[in-house]
């Protein structure tokens, strides 16, 4: 197992490097010229040339990329091409904004998905199961940015008006007067809600389907035959085997979450990794994009690694090495 983990980590390094080369080349070839973005407000015609020279943008792309990677690997992430701001500080601040959003959304979604999935799987075809199913299908189909705008409209403007309040109630703006639980809840409630909808919808269906399959296996039949309570059969024997699919999906969604974060932060005007990504792409700021990519990529790789190991741990039949029997 130790060798497997080591191999997966080593294998993922060239993947990340390749991805960073790809992003660097694509952004620099297709994207906005960082010097031009920087001189957008300057009236000096020599501005672009001067900035290019100062930032080293006039050198070959390969040399620039190698410089960039050398900086990243030696811990000196340098300054943003757009604003001279420290890249490490920019990414650190963005992570600090995004981590609670993603963390709460994943926690809320996991708990909700397991509870809903188990509830549906215990009585497939019941009215409750059908209701959950319909809600999940709707949740997967709803456009997140539209839902976000509707949620803002509803909770900020409509609901206070129906309740007879004069002023709209603002939620997602950080409350300067306090960082307590109430202020935190008020700041995060709507973004977490919007980010969670699709996760809960997808994960709960997985959980339900996997558990229904699992409840028909021989080992569950054995557990039932032993006379265990239904609760114990479902939550202990059924859920363990059924968790493998959910683990895989959650890990796969770690990468997919980036998109949800971008939209959620955009709709709610929150700073964070998603906003940083969109802004860096807009400015052609590869000095931020490459470390951003490596940080996000590392998170995705680790998530998938944990999922593979968890998979093998949860289901003894799975062989992580992937050899075929003779």
């Amino acid at each position: 197992m130790g060798r497997y983990v080591l191999r997966r980590v080593l294998v993922s390094i060239p993947v990340l490097v390749l991805a960073s080369v790809l992003v660097f080349v694509v952004v620099r070839s297709f994207g906005v010229d960082p010097a031009r973005a920087r001189c957008a407000t300057s009236r000096d015609p020599a501005c672009i040339e001067r900035v290019r020279e100062r930032l080293g943008l006039d050198r070959p792309l390969a040399a620039q990329y190698l410089d960039e990677m050398r900086g990243v690997l030696t811990g000196d992430w340098g300054q943003s091409l757009r604003s001279d701001r420290s890249v490490a500080a920019a990414i650190g601040d963005a992570l600090a904004e995004t981590a609670p959003l993603v963390g709460w959304a994943m926690l809320v979604s996991l708990v909700a998905a397991v509870v809903i999935g188990v509830s549906g799987a215990r009585r497939p075809g019941s009215r409750r199961d059908h209701t959950y199913g319909a809600l999940a299908i709707a949740g997967l189909a709803v456009p997140t940015f539209w839902l976000g705008l509707l949620v803002i409209q509803l909770f900020t403007y409509d609901l206070p008006r129906w309740l007879g309040l004069d002023d709209p109630v603002l939620y997602s703006v950080p409350d300067p007067t306090g960082r307590g639980a109430v202020a935190g809840f008020r700041e995060l409630a709507l973004p977490v809600l919007v980010l969670s909808v699709q996760l809960v919808a997808g994960w709960s269906r997985y959980q339900r389907a996997a558990l229904i399959d699992e409840l028909q296996t021989d080992h569950v039949r054995t557990a039932r035959a032993k006379g265990l309570t239904e609760r114990r059969v479902v939550w202990k024997h059924g859920l363990r085997g059924a968790s493998t699919s959910l683990v895989t999906v959650v890990a796969l969604d770690a990468g997919a979450l980036i998109g949800g974060v971008v939209i959620t932060e955009r709709v709610f005007s929150r700073p964070g990794m998603g906003t940083l990504l969109v802004n860096s792409v807009r400015d052609g700021d590869t000095r931020i994009l490459i470390p951003w990519l490596l940080v996000a990529g590392a998170v995705v790789v680790v998530a998938n690694l944990v999922a593979d190991i968890g998979y093998a741990w949860l289901d003894p039949r799975v062989r992580v090495t992937g050899e075929r029997p003779a």
């Binding site: 993922s12 060239p14 993947v15 990340l16 790809l22 992003v23 080349v25 694509v26 070839s29 297709f30 994207g31 497939p124 075809g125 199913g133 709707a138 997967l140 189909a141 456009p143 997140t144 940015f145 539209w146 705008l149 509707l150 803002i152 409209q153 403007y157 709209p168 699709q198 997808g202 994960w203 269906r205 997985y206 339900r208 389907a209 229904i212 399959d213 028909q216 039932r224 699919s245 999906v249 969604d253 990468g255 997919a256 979450l257 980036i258 998109g259 949800g260 971008v262 939209i263 955009r266 990504l277 969109v278 792409v281 807009r282 951003w292 996000a296 995705v300 790789v301 050899e323 075929r324």
Partner: protein, 341 residues
């Protein structure tokens, strides 16, 4: 990516969601001596809820399919049936209609310039539908081919193909989409021109290039499990070639996930196009898409014009919902495993 999520983030769940009935505690007893394969088949048959329940909502599927067809017809016939002009000359008569809420004359209201919103929604639907079905087709073909090859061959082929898939998964798709789709004259690294994402073919190309990986992973995952089955060994013992086993035994057993992914990929592609439009890339004025309508109306939150957000989004939502329901229904009809009863 989008997230809306990324295409195919969840199709497997829907694929495995069987709506099965009660546990076959009695049904499979006493069959152990007939072999594991037979017992497996009987257990599955026993869990089949039977013809009456097998297709959970055939009527709902038909209604959803009808709704998609109706929307497609409406989009195709937009120039004929639309009540107005999507991009009229802003005469005083047009401007006089500005900022009208929903009414019989303008069911979805009019915008700040007096343009009929229903008309613009119909034209936006054309973009959404073309992108959705185009992307689904391309991603399914590419993804299934890669996944089948990797899952069947295993070994270094599997390793290589899955690293390539990982590479595409690791790339922040949204960043690349924003960069590439934002470029009005894309080329393949200067070698040849690509269609720009401001038009439908370019959008299909970009979304497919970043949308086939889940299909590859799903098919590979299915193959990894299926190739260990007894019937594969049986077929090999009977002299079947690897190609024959893949085509006649493994792919048919993967039809459910493939069809479901295809149908859900339509929905996800439609959503992703809308997200890109919302973020400011995609079809350009004077063309409209449902996403760009919502983006244009973003400032109306909290004003009496908020219906400009509500209706395009509602159509987008219902379209994706209907497409997904059709995918669900297709799965119920096509999954050979569940027909075995």
């Amino acid at each position: 990516m989008s997230g809306t999520g990324r295409p195919g983030a969840h199709p497997g769940g829907a694929a495995r969601d069987s709506g099965a009935g009660e546990l076959p505690l009695v049904g499979s007893a006493g069959l152990v001596d007939e072999g594991i394969v037979a017992a497996d088949a009987v257990a599955r048959a026993g869990s089949d809820p039977g013809p009456a329940r097998r297709r959970r909502h055939p009527r709902l599927t038909v209604v959803a399919a009808g709704f998609v067809v109706a929307l497609a017809l409406a989009a195709a016939l937009a120039p004929v049936i639309a009540p107005g002009d999507p991009d009229p000359v802003l005469t005083p008569a047009v401007l006089a209609e500005a900022r009208q809420g929903p009414s019989w004359a303008h069911p979805f209201g009019t915008d700040q310039l007096g343009r009929d919103q229903l008309t613009r929604v119909l034209y936006g639907l054309r973009v959404s539908l073309l992108v959705g079905f185009g992307v689904a087709l391309v991603s399914v073909v590419v993804g299934a081919a890669v996944g089948a090859w990797a899952g069947w061959r295993g070994g270094w082929v599997d390793g290589l193909l899955m690293r390539v898939t990982d590479l595409f998964l690791v790339i922040p798709a949204l960043a690349l989409l924003l960069v590439v789709a934002g470029n009005p004259e894309p080329t393949f690294f200067g070698w040849f021109d690509l269609p720009p994402a401001t038009e439908v073919p370019g959008m299909v190309l970009i979304l497919s290039a970043l949308g086939w990986m889940p299909m590859a992973r799903i098919v590979r995952g299915e193959f990894l499990g299926l190739r260990e089955r007894g019937y594969v060994d049986a077929a090999r013992c009977a002299g079947a070639s690897g190609w024959r086993v893949v085509v006649t035994h493994l792919l048919p057993n993967t039809v459910g996930p493939i069809v479901v992914f295809g149908a859900l990929a339509v929905g996800f592609a439609i959503l992703n196009e809308a997200v890109l439009a919302f973020l400011g890339v995609g079809v350009q004025y004077p063309a409209v898409s449902l996403g760009s309508m919502i983006a244009d109306a973003e400032d109306t939150v909290g004003t009496e014009l908020a219906y400009m957000i509500l209706y395009p989004g509602l159509v987008l939502f219902l379209l994706v919902l209907a497409v997904n329901l059709v995918g669900d229904g297709l799965r119920d009809g096509f999954d050979p495993r569940r027909r075995s009863g």
